[in-house]
């Protein structure tokens, strides 16, 4: 049946809304990061531009646009531009399949997500795995020692922690029996997967910090040793694209965690007045809580040493993920 989801102009509007939403989220995440970090360090944070500093992101954006582009002369001309474009592009692309819920309007089922892929989870893993190239190419093309080290670190770290992420997610897939994100959220009706898979949630969320290059795992851009890692040689809007990619990736991993573990668009309790609030609002609320945790962790924990980081990924997260898979599989098989 042809529903409103299949009309090309509906699709176009959805894409537009999503891009605007993600860019706004990026802008205000930077403000939230600065405000929360300031409060954690007993400061006020930006409060001069607009009420409560609400227009600070706009000012920052303008500044990024009008700054001079300083680039190393010995750079690789093409790859130097491919890096930041990929960073922004891959981050936006992954968000196309995040399930925000469905509505039944005028007898038609309306999906809030752009594309409904029946292997949505794998799609996200595949697209985010391409994000490695942006960091690595940026570091490589800059022709600078700091950048190259940052790029090398990023590719090693992201590949390692991708394993941990995938292993953590398999438990959820076993329970719901599907890779379809909408189906996974639907099968959490009554009991969220964070209750059944607490270990998987912790593993996923920990590895997500490494995937998004956030403290305590921000080794690719550790400023005390690498200046700024892979984006040392980038300035103005080219740097802005890396910045954007990183923050949108934060939104993406928090959205995945919400959909897989926190019941997605499902209300906190399945009765009035909780189910009067529409699904997308619930989804947004849960994502915001997780985003706050990410910012909170960044400003309270110190950075790990690089070898410790790799050891942690391979010798702690991976075995725990494997144990989780075996136990979940055994329980599901025995109960079947």
């Amino acid at each position: 049946m042809i529903g409103p989801d299949d009309l090309w102009w509906v699709l176009l509007i959805k894409c537009g809304v999503l891009v605007v939403f993600l860019l706004t989220a990026f802008a205000y995440l930077t403000l939230a990061e600065r405000k929360i970090s300031a409060r954690i360090q007993l400061r006020y944070g930006p409060n001069r531009v607009g009420p409560f500093g609400m227009l600070q992101p706009a000012a920052d954006g303008l500044k990024l646009f009008f700054k001079e582009n300083v680039a190393p002369a010995e750079r690789d001309k093409i790859l130097y531009l491919v890096g930041p474009s990929l960073a922004g592009g891959a981050a936006l692309l992954a968000y196309a399949v995040i399930p925000w819920g469905t509505n039944n309007w005028f007898g038609h089922v309306f999906h809030w997500d752009i594309a409904h892929v029946n292997v949505g989870l794998l799609f996200i893993l595949g697209v985010t795995s391409l994000g490695v190239y942006s960091l690595f190419l940026g570091g490589f093309a800059s022709n600078s020692k700091y950048s190259l080290l940052g790029g090398l670190r990023s590719s090693a770290q992201l590949i390692s922690y991708e394993m941990a992420v995938s292993f953590a997610l398999i438990g959820v897939v076993i329970l719901s029996g599907s890779l379809d994100l909408e189906h996974i959220v639907g099968s959490q009706q009554g009991l969220w997967f964070i209750v059944l898979q607490p270990l998987a949630f912790i593993l996923y969320f920990t590895a997500a910090f490494a995937e998004t290059n956030r403290l305590p795992f921000d080794l690719p851009e550790a400023e005390t040793e690498l200046i700024a890692g892979y984006h040392t040689e980038y300035s103005a809007m080219r740097f802005g694209l890396y910045f954007l990619g990183e923050y949108i990736n934060m939104v993406t991993v928090c959205s995945i965690a919400t959909a897989l573990f926190l019941g997605g668009w499902l209300p906190l309790l399945p009765f009035h007045p909780f189910d009067w609030i529409p699904g997308p609002i619930w989804f947004l609320g849960k994502v915001l809580v997780l985003l706050f945790v990410m910012i909170w962790v960044r400003w309270t924990l110190p950075r790990l040493r690089y070898d410790r980081l790799m050891n942690f990924g391979w010798k702690v997260l991976m075995p725990l993920g494997l144990i989780n898979i075996v136990v979940t599989g055994a329980v599901v098989a025995l109960r079947a």
Binding site: L79, N118, F123, L125, F136, L152
Partner: protein, 183 residues
Amino acid sequence: MTVLFAVVIALAAVSSLGVVFSRQTIYSALSLVLTVSMLAVLFLLLNAQFLFAVQLIIYAGAVMVLFVFIVALLSPDAEDRPALDLRAVIGITGVVVVTALVFIAARNGITYSTNGFHGTVVGTASDPYHTFNFPQDAVNNAGNVQTVAGQLFTNYLLPFEITSMLLLVAAIGAVYLTRRSSR
């Protein structure tokens, strides 16, 4: 749809030429990434969404990252050779001939209809997992993952397990060979 196919195939062909003709190794490796991604998109256009995701994750996301990683670490110099020499001419001729042969074979032998590819039917109609005949609707009703898994864990279980043993042996061997000796 046909236009999309043409664009993707053209991109795949151009990028695979880039693998061969790039003078800098890093560009060769990155062209291979593009080729692999385009093959993934071809899978998607053929409605094999599972294979699309796997192709992206394994090849573009893991194998090629290691390739690029090594190339950047060793950073070999650009090759000192002309862009077009005898080897290139012979190579291009070979590609054209093989492609033409494939097209001729496709026109004469293999048929394609909207119901999917018709290969040899091995099992019975009541037991679809024992046939090679996968109509598009049937696959999408069961889901790509279920169809692939159904084949992998019934008909092809032995090859599957042997392959996984092989990979395990290779992994252990690699760890052993690169281990710092504690003598």
